[in-house]
């Protein structure tokens, strides 16, 4: 039985405070089941994950657990066991994932703040497709105790909310320190990610980026062609190691896509994982050499608007990997800000910073949201806005 019109919640209680927080169902909340939207896991923890405990201590009211792609190991939030989260902007469309319940709950105003996790895009994708602000922190900034892992060296817990300022507040509480608010001094536009996006999405993103950062310089990401593969080489074996006890005992209880990815990780040669780790070091050194002078890199968060649930492109994962893999592999902070409406659906910019400089991407998001109103648009308000490039003109 769905607990809300968007299947965002898996478990819900009444709010007893003013700061309503929903928690992705891979993060422990004392007394609530953690299922990871799976048939495999069902634990009722007696203590909060550390990030939840810190929010609760700061006055948050945890009102429920939010839908996710099974085990947060996919980009759609369509668990075969709990059903898909649906996009409040158009309930025939996906929220993206894996933190799709988090994106839907914030977009629909069911919560003030949602917690998500991001291994290879899982906060950024639903934030973009649901038209909300989201932040993937630098790996290690927020404790991951009490969080079901996907891949230990890539996982990050972060906030989704209406604004960058709200994300900052939540992140500083979870991180246990202030993050600084230095604005970026040198900004790059990642040209290939604009070129690779649907023309209407690229146009909306470029217009918004140019409005706020007119002096941004075009940049190329090192290893653009390779970085998605390198990320898979690191992530899949780590994920297989996480799941190995369950793969041994309840393989058939996994959904087909997650089962396939876990098995792929199990059966990759050990040298493939080591090559992935070596290539990550190589990518990090190239990134530092070629982009080390840039405080902020700006690109479309996603190359497309939210696909219909019944018409997800067969190459969806391949399409979105170049947009999400670099920050995942290198553990970088990224803030997602809504930046336009295309075909009555939200599109967003990804603001990527240097490792440990979460305060810079959040300051950039706050600047962007002082200059623009896109974060104020809510589901339904897309009807008020028609993008100048129609789908007919795009062909």
């Amino acid at each position: 039985m769905s607990l809300d019109p968007f299947n965002a919640f898996l478990h819900r209680v009444e709010a007893d405070g003013h700061w309503r927080v929903g928690v992705k169902d891979v993060i422990d909340v004392a007394g609530m089941p953690t299922t990871a939207a799976s048939k495999v896991l069902h634990r009722v923890p007696d203590r909060d994950a550390e990030c939840v405990a810190r929010l609760r201590a700061a006055g948050a009211s945890i009102i429920g657990k939010l839908n996710t792609h099974e085990f947060a190991f996919g980009a759609l939030t369509n668990s075969p066991h709990f059903g898909p989260a649906v996009n409040p902007w158009d309930t025939a469309r996906t929220t993206g994932g894996s933190s799709g319940g988090s994106g839907a709950a914030v977009a629909a105003g069911l919560v003030d703040l949602a917690l998500g996790t991001d291994t290879a895009g899982s906060i950024r994708i639903p934030a973009a497709l649901c038209g909300v602000t989201g932040h993937r922190p630098t790996v290690g900034l927020v404790p991951v105790d009490g969080v079901v892992p996907v891949a230990w060296t890539l996982d990050a817990v972060g906030p989704l909310a209406r604004t960058g300022a709200e994300c900052r507040r939540a992140l500083e509480i979870m991180a246990g320190r202030e993050l600084g608010a230095e604005p970026p001094r040198r900004v790059g536009l990642v040209t290939r990610l604009f070129d690779g996006a649907h023309p209407a999405v690229a146009a909306a993103c470029e217009e918004a980026a140019r409005e706020v950062w007119p002096d941004a310089e075009p940049v190329e990401l090192p290893l653009h062609e390779e970085i998605s593969t390198i990320t898979q080489l690191v992530m899949l074996p780590e994920a297989a190691a996480v799941h190995l006890p369950w793969l041994r005992t309840c393989l058939a209880d996994y959904g087909p896509d997650v089962r396939a990815r876990a098995l792929a990780g199990l059966l990759l040669p050990a040298t493939a994982h080591v090559t992935g780790l070596r290539a990550r070091s190589w990518a990090r050194s190239l990134w530092e050499r070629e982009l080390g002078d840039f405080d902020l890199l700006v690109a479309p968060a996603m190359p497309i608007v939210a696909p219909r649930l019944d018409a997800v492109p067969p190459d969806y994962r391949l399409l979105i990997m170049p947009y999400n893999s670099p920050a995942a592999l290198l553990g970088l902070p990224v803030t997602i800000v809504p930046c336009g409406i295309v075909e009555r659906l939200p599109v967003a910019l990804a603001l990527t910073g240097r490792s440990g400089e979460d305060g810079v991407t959040l300051a950039a998001a706050e600047d962007f949201q002082r200059e623009t109103d896109w974060h104020r648009f809510e589901p339904g308000s897309g009807e008020l806005y028609t993008n100048p490039v129609s789908s007919d003109e795009r062909g």
Binding site: T229, A260, L266, L267, T275
Partner: protein
């Protein structure tokens, strides 16, 4: 066909050695994926500087 069947058998044996028992259908899907990623891996290995350490 025979070659694919041999590869599936090999994957089944590797999985079994780790205590996992996938179906042939599972393994056929994995085989496609492994062929693609191992081919991409070979290209990365060619370009990877020898001094790059994990």
């Amino acid at each position: 066909m025979g070659s694919e069947s041999n590869l599936v058998s090999t994957l089944r044996a590797l999985a079994a050695q780790q205590g996992v028992e996938p179906t042939d259908e599972d393994l056929e899907g994995v085989l496609d994926f492994l062929e693609r990623i191992l081919s991409a891996l070979a290209e990365i290995e060619e370009r990877l500087p020898p001094e790059a350490a994990p």
